[in-house]
Amino acid sequence: MSFQEVIFYLFSLALLLSAGAVVVSRNTIYSALFLILTFFTTSAIWLLLQAEFLAITLILVYVGAVMVLFLFVVMMLDVNLARLKEGFIQYLPVALLVLVVMAAEMIMVVGSDKFSTEAYPLPVPKPADYSNTKELGSVLYTDFVLQFEIAAVILLVAIIAAIALTMRRRPNTKYQSPAKQVMVKKEDRLRVVKMDSE
């Protein structure tokens, strides 16, 4: 076994275990942290495939941004996990049975013998100065300019949808207006009442 294969199996094992742990762990925070581990190991496997740009993007975007937001949501929602996991043990045997049958079927249909190296030759290793990022950049704005633009529109729709669904004006909310506070005069607040002394 070459060094690369050792690395591959090591990270694949870690990937599978952590992905399973996301589902079974009792604590939502643990699940989220295991998901981060899943992303890390995935990106390590992508590095082995010489897709360094995607690997780094996965860490920056998913681990750096998405998962942090995810953790925030988990903290703020206070989901009652015990109720969600009700019936987990009860359905486990059936779920395991379905899982085993489906996995066996999938391995039979798309097992590694169907994608043998004769039919699908290994890609030629790239020279050391080959830049993945540069290659992606050269097709992203030319061959795939349409797809790039649609992706931008999808992000715009996501922004519009989020604002349309959550922004609301509450007329009776209590808030401070610094401008009004600064502009206030003595006459606005103070009323001098003349009274006879007794």
Binding site: M106, V109, V110, K114, F115, T142, D143, F144, V145, L146, Q147, I150, A151, V153, I154, L156, V157, A158, I160, A161, I163, A164, L165, R168
Partner: protein, 479 residues
């Protein structure tokens, strides 16, 4: 690569629509609530304008752009014209409803138009990436539109269900696409077709990918057993949004079925024919039988949609030119008549009253003979009673199925449509033979009444003269 090589000019309709939608987005911010009609007008101008641009762009030839990822052919032109026209009608129907519920906002139109853009991209896609991104653009707009009425709990629930099941469906579709890409080495639909036909021995991985593609597509179209979301979403969404979801996106769904199954994987027809057969028979059975038990008109129309999807799949699985064109004829007719059915619900609804139960239709003939008649046309058409166009749609699909020597399948189709006639006729019975419960006058705007009457009369007109639309559908398929 030069700019000319991209051949951007054939995407003029999409570019026009995107620019107009962004304009609407900016203009809407500066409008007061009392001036909101301007947003509505801009939205309608965008749709009518895109329609005109598509019309002027029509060449009758197949042309590719953006490095072969985008295609414009007669099929795409016709479907896009129908999508724009149907959504324009949806917008006409929705104005009063939105105003009555204080959700008359520019975002409704912005999201609706972005959805149309997604549909147009789906229709014109010649690359799995374009297809998927168009589908996501459409789905994302629809999720937000379903939740548009923030005060309503059922809307939020429907949106959540729709979002989760839609995400699963997208995952299925993507997985199928990745397998097909792995086997053929290309995402371009023309190249996939070439790779499959030059392959000596059929690769089993292709069928594996095909299964996932069909599961994903069935989720989006709402074919049984992937229909669970349809009744809940149709029921929970505001009726305007339901009329949007039920009509135009189905046309786009038909288009991606044609692109993926027929154009990319046409040589695997023997494989997908069997899968579509199961989906079609189950959809016909479940849709028509469960619709009988419904008391809510929106849910009933949801199950009716499922049964119509079954018919469309029947046409597709025939795998002949007659089959594809009859399925296309059916989907175009379906979108018009479903739109009309929801239009009647919108017409009868008023502030604080939804009019979505079957019993609200009681005695409609006494309240408004004209609209009872229009509803009668829609119901007859959905049931497939001549002289409405629904009859010709069903007839052409069935004859395409009989032509490929599958008489038993056609008989199943006939059997379940006869069961289906029951619940359509029940609506007519309620309208004509029961005493009215509601007595309120119909006070919708004149524009809506004219548009709805026009919609109904088109169904009748096409039923008497179906030839032109049928030959149009027949002419766009080269097979």
């Amino acid at each position: 690569m030069t700019l000319d090589a991209l051949n951007i000019s054939i995407a003029r309709p999409e570019i026009f629509l995107l620019s107009m939608t962004c304009l609407l987005l900016v203009v809407d911010v500066f409008l007061k609530q009392s001036q909101r009609n301007a947003s509505y007008l801009i939205a309608q101008i965008s749709l009518i304008g895109s329609l005109v641009v598509i019309w002027m762009n029509m060449s009758g030839q197949r042309a590719e752009a953006f490095n072969g990822t985008f295609v414009v052919d007669p099929l795409a032109d016709i479907l896009k014209i129908f999508i724009c026209a149907v959504v324009a009608l949806v917008f006409v129907y929705s104005r009063d409803y939105l105003k009555d519920r204080n959700i008359f906002k520019g975002e409704f139109y912005v999201l609706g138009l972005f959805g149309v853009l997604g549909m147009m991209l789906m229709v014109s896609s010649n690359h799995m990436l374009t297809l998927y991104l168009g589908l996501e653009l459409l789905s994302l707009s629809m999720y937000a539109m379903v939740a548009f009425n923030r005060e309503s709990g059922t809307s939020a629930e429907a949106a959540m269900k729709y979002f989760i099941l839609g995400a699963i469906a997208s995952g299925m579709l993507l997985y199928g696409m990745s397998i097909v890409y792995g086997v053929t080495g290309s995402m371009n639909i023309t190249e996939i077709a070439a790779a499959i036909s030059t392959q000596g021995e059929m690769h089993i991985g292709l069928i594996f990918g095909l299964v996932f593609l069909i599961v994903g597509l069935s989720f989006k179209l709402g074919a049984v057993p992937f229909h669970m979301w349809v009744p809940d979403v149709y029921h929970g969404a505001p009726t305007t949004v339901t009329s949007y979801i039920a009509s135009a996106p189905k046309i786009a769904g038909f288009a991606i079925m044609i692109r993926l199954l027929v154009e990319a994987m046409g040589s695997l027809q023997n494989e997908w024919q069997g899968m579509l057969m199961i989906l079609a028979v189950l959809s016909l059975a479940v849709g028509n039988i469960i619709a009988i038990a419904q008391t809510n008109l929106k849910r009933m129309l949801a199950y009716s949609t499922i049964s119509h999807v079954g018919f469309i799949l029947l046409g597709l699985l025939a795998g002949t030119k007659a089959g594809y064109s009859s399925a296309m004829f059916y989907i175009l007719v379906y979108s018009l008549m479903t739109l009309g059915g929801f239009g009647i619900i919108l017409l009868l609804a008023r502030a604080g009253f939804e009019s979505e139960e079957l019993k609200n239709l009681k005695g409609l003939n006494k309240r408004s003979p004209w609209f009872a008649f229009i509803m009668l046309i829609f119901m007859f058409s959905m049931a497939g009673v001549p002289p409405t166009v629904g009859f010709w749609a069903k007839l052409s699909v069935l004859s395409a199925v009989v032509e490929i020597k599958m008489l038993w399948l056609a008989l199943i189709g006939v059997f379940f449509s006869i069961i289906g006639i029951y619940y359509y006729l029940r609506v007519i019975k309620l309208m004509y033979f029961d005493e009215p419960v509601e007595t309120a006058q119909i006070d919708s705007s004149a524009g809506m009444q004219i548009a709805l009457s026009f919609n109904g009369l088109i169904i009748l007109f096409l039923g008497i003269y179906p030839g032109a639309l049928m030959s149009l559908c027949f002419s766009v398929f080269a097979v």
